[in-house]
Symmetry: C3
Subunit: 347 residues, 3 copies
């Protein structure tokens, strides 16, 4: 264990996070790891039956296991109903967020009155009539527009932009380069040209939302764009104007949601998954990676797919050529059926 | 109507924007809305026949309609040839851009001489030999490289980067995080390694262009990358080096255009649509959402598609498996045709 | 040749970059160009046999050719084994990077001790315990987190963010808006909610890497995310946590690599190509543009494809409908085969 490393005994961990300690509760833990790689001072976890045999061979100082695997490991262990979530909390305990800085940096430009507990990094700009909750952290280079509200405990990493009047709930984590509240993409055609439609809605983000690096969430045209509580949105995701993303939904990297989409609770969009505009996805809908959902889904829990998995280039070229002739192939089959029927009749 | 809200009478609106007022021209309007949701003090519009029946039920104070629907609403109304564009202009009238700030913020770093009418936000950086037109607004955190020219009336939202020597026309709107003029992606292979090809062209953007948040437009290798007048580009779009995008073209979110593509006027690329490098798309070409255009299009007005719309996962898995065996299926059909012909001959 | 332009004689160029000069070595060159467009004072190159006939018609002052084409041009020329790479080097010679600024700008916030040769632009922030090599250039608005190391000769364009403790090698070029080291996307489900898994790995980037504008590379969950030496990554690319990208790999614009992917040396991912999580791609694997690689590739040098190239919308709609009925079509063919066999048997 590195000198000076933050560490806790197994008993201390369980005192804070719950769970039952079996074996030596005095063993000290300073790092989380995997069953395969853990060593002295490290705690690992078993969340997937597939890896159960690793309990026999792991060199972890302690493990986190479910009740069904409590006897699979002889050393110090914590038994809990959800080992993976427990592991996440142990990792958070052992890796507290760096303060980095406290107070308002002298180079920041702040035009609102902020609670003393708020931290504002160098070169950050906070506009007028901004309301920040307790302990909000605004890192270097962020720009917070006039009239924005951000709830207690939220963290904005460097170079985030939040346009005027948007709302962000409590305990949000917004990663660098994310842009919240840029104009939705709305234009009225007039002859060859396009007349801009002012985007006068806001973005309203619930509590416990995480938004990835360089992700964009556009403000609404008339109504607000709404991101529900507990949503987790990865990097380089586009959420267009007027969308309503249900609570606890998850959007993986490079996903895109076109305008005026309504998603129920706990929807999942895989990486590079796309949702066409003006459709509704029932709660619990899953869109597979790379798939384009074009129609509304009314039943909960559906899983939609549509991407052809890559194959050898030459095989794909041949198959793609056959797809191009598929209508013709179907006609030929119909013709065969007709002939065979005639033959049978004649026969 | 909220106290102090900016408002106009219907007659005042028509005096500024044209159109014929029918009914009470003195009614005051402070907000735009939809037929379904409008109420007191709000103006709605009918642009799509589909919603015509809502004229009977709307509680809007006034509506904007085309000549064919002028009699469909009994209350105050404005009759105009293009209700949607008219609505856009009313919305702009009622929601003037916030000044936010005026002049050059004391924290900005400006190494060029600017007109007095230009606004530069906090922490913005403007390099040497930069030429800005009248009333340009450069928001907080923007970085404008040496030798850049930006035309009158353009607005750059926070944290935009424009590399050296690029040109942006008049009345541009560039949203946060956009990067104009980064190096195009050009490398010469040499053994296993890649030798960087300096990108010495510029990006040249016409007038009345809007560019979305976190969109990237690369500078040309030798020639310039050119975005025509009136183009509208959404968020997270990639435009590679040496592209020439025709006037009034529209690229929706997550679209990507590879290098040296030439697009004619008024092309449309749907969300996540992709265009392969070195091809030409005739004027008025539409690429559907999620579609990859791989070949040049010579005829105007074509619409290209190629994405399989999502279906239930199990159905798709089955269909995908059949695609994989499509060449075999085609062989089997050919074999059947041959046999049947032999049988017929024998018969 | 513009007055004051930087120029070299052909002989001076060859003295620096190698190659054999044929014809007048005193001719002065100030610009690179193409065979089709070059004129006085400009040097062009022939790298692709297809353009060989242009050697007859080009007005270039000099050309760079391979040994096989050395006699194809009568004027001044340099003969070299790799004309394209040579051209890249000539272009670099004629277009040296602009210094732009030197030293640490007074508005920058620097909390570490830097070598005198380092340049830090306006409004940039450099955290604590940061180690920068000689001649590193950090442009305006960049934010470099605590404990970051960046190797000699690297350039970070404006508004790049590097999170704490990441490592960037020598001679890196990182374009504007790129985000290195944001949290990987990891959450443990707990009931309806998601528990954040702290991301305690780093991003470790090798030497001679170029990273495009607004690209994101996430830090690892436990281990590091690793980008090998000589990798070239275009704009708007997403690299998720725990990936290991092999040396000299190339990822084109809008590509996405999901978590825990291992790619061998010299892999190529085309524009908008996607790689599913937890798979391994052997050295030299090529993923075609827009293609989703879902399975590991064990053999070197494979090329995978899977995207249907766009066709006329109506044709695609018809083909897509047939794909939807493909299982049924296959059944019909099987039925025909059965019947025909019965008929034959009966016959």
């Amino acid at each position: 264990m590195p000198v000076g490393a933050l560490s806790f005994s197994l008993a201390e961990i369980a005192a804070r996070l719950g769970g039952d300690v079996l074996g030596d509760g005095n063993i000290r833990i300073f790092r989380v790891s995997t069953l395969a790689t853990a060593g002295e001072g490290e705690i690992a976890f078993l969340a997937n039956r597939k890896y159960r045999s690793q309990l026999q061979t792991t060199r972890a100082a302690a493990v986190i296991v479910g009740p069904d695997a409590a006897d699979g490991f002889a050393g110090p262990r914590i038994v809990t109903g959800n080992p993976y979530a427990y592991y996440a909390r142990v990792a958070a305990l052992l890796n507290p967020p760096r303060a980095g800085f406290a107070g308002v940096h002298r180079s920041a430009v702040v035009d609102s009155t902020l609670p003393d507990s708020v931290s504002v990094g160098p070169q950050a700009c906070i506009g007028r009539d901004v309301v920040l909750g307790e302990n909000v952290v605004v890192h270097a280079g962020c720009v917070i527009g006039d009239g924005v509200h951000i709830g207690a405990g939220s963290v904005l990493y460097p170079n985030v932009t939040v346009y005027h009047d948007c709302r962000i709930g409590e305990r949000a984590i917004i990663h660098s380069g994310a842009v919240i509240g840029a104009d939705g993409f709305g234009f009225a055609p007039e002859g060859k040209t396009w007349v801009k439609i002012p985007q006068i809605g806001r973005v309203v983000i619930g509590d416990d939302v995480e938004i990835g690096a360089n992700t964009t969430v556009d403000r609404g045209a008339l109504e607000d764009t709404v991101i529900g509580n507990g949503c987790k949105i990865d990097n380089l995701v586009q959420i267009a104007h007027n969308c309503r993303i249900g609570d606890y939904s998850v959007l993986a990297g490079c996903a895109g949601v076109a305008g005026s989409v309504t998603m129920g609770e706990h929807c999942i969009v895989g990486g590079a998954g796309m949702v066409s505009g003006h459709i509704t996805l029932a709660a619990g809908t899953t869109i597979s990676a790379g798939t384009l959902a074009m129609k509304s889904v009314n039943e909960s829990g559906a899983r939609l797919s549509g991407v052809f998995p890559a194959e050898q280039h030459e095989d794909w070229v041949r198959n793609a050529a056959h797809i191009r002739r598929l209508a013709k192939l179907a006609e030929r089959v119909a013709e065969l059926e007709k002939k065979l029927k005639e033959n049978d009749t004649r026969g």
